[in-house]
Amino acid sequence: MSQTFIFLEHSNGKLKSGSKELLSCANNANSEIHALALGSGARNAAEEAGTFGAKVIFVNEGSEYSKYNSELFVETLASAIEQSGSKIILASSSSATRDAFPRVAAKFNAGFASDCTELNLNGDTVTARKPLYSGKCSAQVNFKNCDIKIVLMRPNQIPINDPSSGTPEVKDLQTPSIEAKVTTTEVKASDSTRPDLTEAGIVVSGGRGLQNADNFQLLSEMADTIGATVGASRAVVDAGWVPHSMQVGQTGKTVAPTLYIAAGISGAIQHLAGMSSSRVVVAINKDPEAPIFKKATYGIVGDALEILPKLTEEFKKLLA
């Protein structure tokens, strides 16, 4: 029987949906699932993973895992993977996994692919699909010449199974010793309570058509109304109106929400690359020839500054 190792991410013991996606995929492929959960609440996360088919779960609830530390996570992952003996290793893409897993791959001399959008498990074979050039095209990922294969999946790509009963075997994992060449001195939480751009279900983005930084307030008001996250074009990030963490596009974030609203964004090719896999796109732009309309589901030719507040009012009425 094939065996798959999944790194579980959770918040206070509740599994993140990306982890449930991976558990569902491995369970549907009849692979024996081994997993790892770390930090406060890991035991609860492990139990929940059991209801999605996980059989063996390594757990360490130590407070040292409350903050991400690259050395500690790399060594802990390596130790759990070694004990599990799995050859297929999966995790959902996040700041932590993107930082740690490539190094884990190097330690094991393993094949590594990140940011994948499709995953196929078949016995000991794994293939994936991965967008390239920020989604201007995609390709199938095949592993060759390597014993261990590591895949990081973009969240929101795989249907999640209904949970059923299942009691996993929970194994305590020792905290490995590390050289402590990296110390995490502080975590400065953002004051935003909105979801991260890459995970958001709705994104409202602004560009030069908003004319100045203050007018981004119009997008914040709309975002608060419909539960969206605010994004921006490269032009306004370069102009210093908003931080780079808000940039959507080839040199910013790649987003795939169900609804993307582009206000005052003309749609440079590098912006389109970062948002064109959004399900529904609304474009609002003064220029009827703007390239953004070619990627849009619905378009309005007009001044974003006039349309945005009125549209927010409409949304309020609709959701009241």
Binding site: S114, Y133, K188, S190, P243, T251, F293, I300, I307, K310
Partner: protein, 255 residues
Amino acid sequence: MNVYVCIKQVPDTESKIKLSGNGIDTSGIKWVMNPYDEFAVEEALLFKKDNPSAVVTVLCVGPKSRTVDSLRTALAMGVDNAISVDAPENLDSLQTAHALSEAIKKTGDAHIVFTGKVAIDDNQSAVSQQLANFLEIPHATVISKTAYTADSIAVDREVEGGSKEILNVKLPAVIAATKGLNNPRYASLPGIMKAKKKPITELTTTELGINTDPYVEFTDFQLPPERPSVKMIEGEVDTQVAELAKLLREEAKVL
């Protein structure tokens, strides 16, 4: 004191990607320095300004014909030396990292290695961490701020949702830059002229002893599916917004 910058050549972000055979059509493509690597080059030059004994060497792995322009750009910005590691185009992250590490070991012990946080072609964000593993030194990725002491760096690492982790990293280390770290300089005309005459040291994956059979191979390239054509909403602004809200709720069912 050796400071290294590892860069990658990528298609210009304005490039249209067309498919050809089992891969992309590279005929019309302009190869430029990966945008995040520009922050790495600038950071090395800023470090050298404060530490004049630093020698900044830029490295690039890939087919020689594609890497030379990026290396010349780095030379024109002001780096001291350039190394080209000629390699097949389908090298994967691990082998690229291995090649970089061997080239660095051959050249001299690193004080700091700067990289970009991700290459915008395959979007793996793997080489920096893997290179650090081969060099047996720590890494820190997605770095937007640095403060140096003699044997460590304090860095800001950007994570989800606009939050930041503040790290202290012992040197030597690999530091992967993101946008916001600095403002990369433009190469001056005299810099460009001078860069044309600077020598580029040429190495190959063969002489570095790198296994070039990739672990990860891309096949079945596809363009994204075409979108159906846009539905334009006409009329007065009040009518337009009311119609749009209705379509989003009733037709698209996304609200």
